[in-house]
Symmetry: C2
Subunit: 196 residues, 2 copies
C-alpha cells in the first residue's frame, strides 16, 4: 500500500494531510487512491498493527482528527511491499485494450481518426512535460519525480509511432481477418448497419 509509505514519510500525520499530499501528486490518477479510500486504509492498517494511532485532537467543532505513525512491523512490511513493486512487473490494465479488442465494431474512418487523435494527445502531453522541464518547474522536485515523467514520455513515444502506423494500416483497408479466412460480411459489419 501506497498509504503506508506516505505515513512513514510524513509521520506523524492525520488522514487529511495524506489526502492532500496524494492529490498534490495526482496520485488519484496513477494509483487507485481516491479520498474516500484513505480513511478506510488507515483504519485497516492500524488494525493490522502496521500503523498506530498517536493522538486524537479536536479543534473547535470540526471533526476530530486522528494522527498516525508507523510501527516497526509496518516498516518491515513496507520494505517488503516496496521490493515487490520494484522487482515484479504487474501488467497494467488499460481500457484502451478493451477498445482495441472491439476494433472491427467501428467504421474504418473513425478508427483511423481516433488513432491520429490519440497520437496527437500523446504528443501534446509529451510536449507539455518537456516544457515543464525546460522551465524551472522540475528543478524543485527530487530526481525521481523527473524520472517518472521521463518514463511516461518514453512509453508515449513508442505508442505515438504505433498509433500512426496502425492508423495508416486501417486507412489502407487491410483486412482484419486472419489470412486463411475468406473476407465477407462479418458479424461486426452487420452490427454497424444496425446501429446506423
Amino acid at each position: 500500500m501506497m498509504i503506508l509509505g506516505l505515513v512513514n514519510w510524513m509521520q506523524p500525520v492525520h488522514g487529511y494531510d495524506v489526502r492532500r499530499e496524494l492529490l498534490s501528486w495526482s496520485a488519484d490518477k496513477w494509483a487507485n487512491v481516491q479520498p474516500g479510500s484513505i480513511y478506510h486504509a488507515l483504519r485497516k492498517l492500524t488494525e493490522e498493527e502496521l500503523l498506530r494511532e498517536v493522538t486524537t485532537e479536536q479543534v473547535g467543532g470540526r471533526p476530530a482528527r486522528t494522527t498516525y505513525e508507523i510501527t516497526p512491523k509496518g516498516l518491515d512490511e513496507l520494505d517488503n511491499l516496496l521490493r515487490g513493486y520494484w522487482w515484479e512487473i504487474k501488467p497494467v490494465s488499460d481500457p484502451f485494450f478493451a477498445a482495441l479488442s472491439f476494433l472491427p465494431a467501428l467504421p474504418r474512418e473513425e478508427v483511423a481518426a481516433a488513432l491520429r487523435n490519440r497520437a496527437g494527445q500523446l504528443r501534446a502531453a509529451n510536449e507539455s512535460m518537456a516544457l515543464a522541464a525546460e522551465k524551472g518547474w522540475l528543478r524543485e522536485k527530487p530526481a525521481n519525480v523527473t524520472w517518472m515523467w521521463e518514463l511516461m514520455v518514453a512509453r508515449n513515444e513508442g505508442e505515438i509511432a504505433w498509433c500512426d502506423r496502425v492508423a495508416g494500416l486501417v486507412e489502407s483497408g487491410v483486412s482484419y481477418l486472419p489470412e486463411r479466412m475468406t473476407p465477407g460480411v462479418t458479424e461486426w459489419e452487420r452490427w454497424r448497419q444496425q446501429v446506423e
Copy 2:
C-alpha cells in the same frame, strides 16, 4: 463495460461462455474482470435493460444457466462506451509509479539492479511476442490482436531504454535532491538505517 461488448459479439450467451472467452483473452489481466465479476455484471446490465434474458435451461443437477442477449438500448450504450474508450486517454494506474515515488527508500545498488532486471523482463516479454509472431501463432488471430501485441512491444521498448538509462544514473551516484538543496542525511537515509 467489456462484458456488454462480448455479449453483443457472442450472443446469445450464458455467463460461463463469457467467462471462458475472457480467460482465453487473458482479459483478467488487462481489464479488471475476474470470473466472479461476470455474473454480477450480467445481472446489473439486465437490470439496466441493456441486456435481456433469453432462456434459462438446466442440464441434469447442474446450476441452471441463463442465456442473455443485447437489447437495442444496450447496443446504443455500447456504441457510446466504445467511442469513449477510443477517443479519450485515461491514464492507467501502474504500481511501478508507486515504487518510483519511494525510490530513495532503497539502497542505490538495489534500485539499479531492479531496474536492470526490469529491462531484462521487458526484453524477454518482447522477444517471446516476436517469436510468437514468427511462428504461425498469430496468423489465426484477427489483425487487431496482433496490433495489441505490437502496442505492448512499442511501449516496452521505450521503457527498456528508460530503465537502462536511469539505472546508469542511479549507479553513477547522482543526487536525488533538487539542485538548490544541500545534500545531507535525508529522512530516507535514516529510515534505511532503521530497517537494516
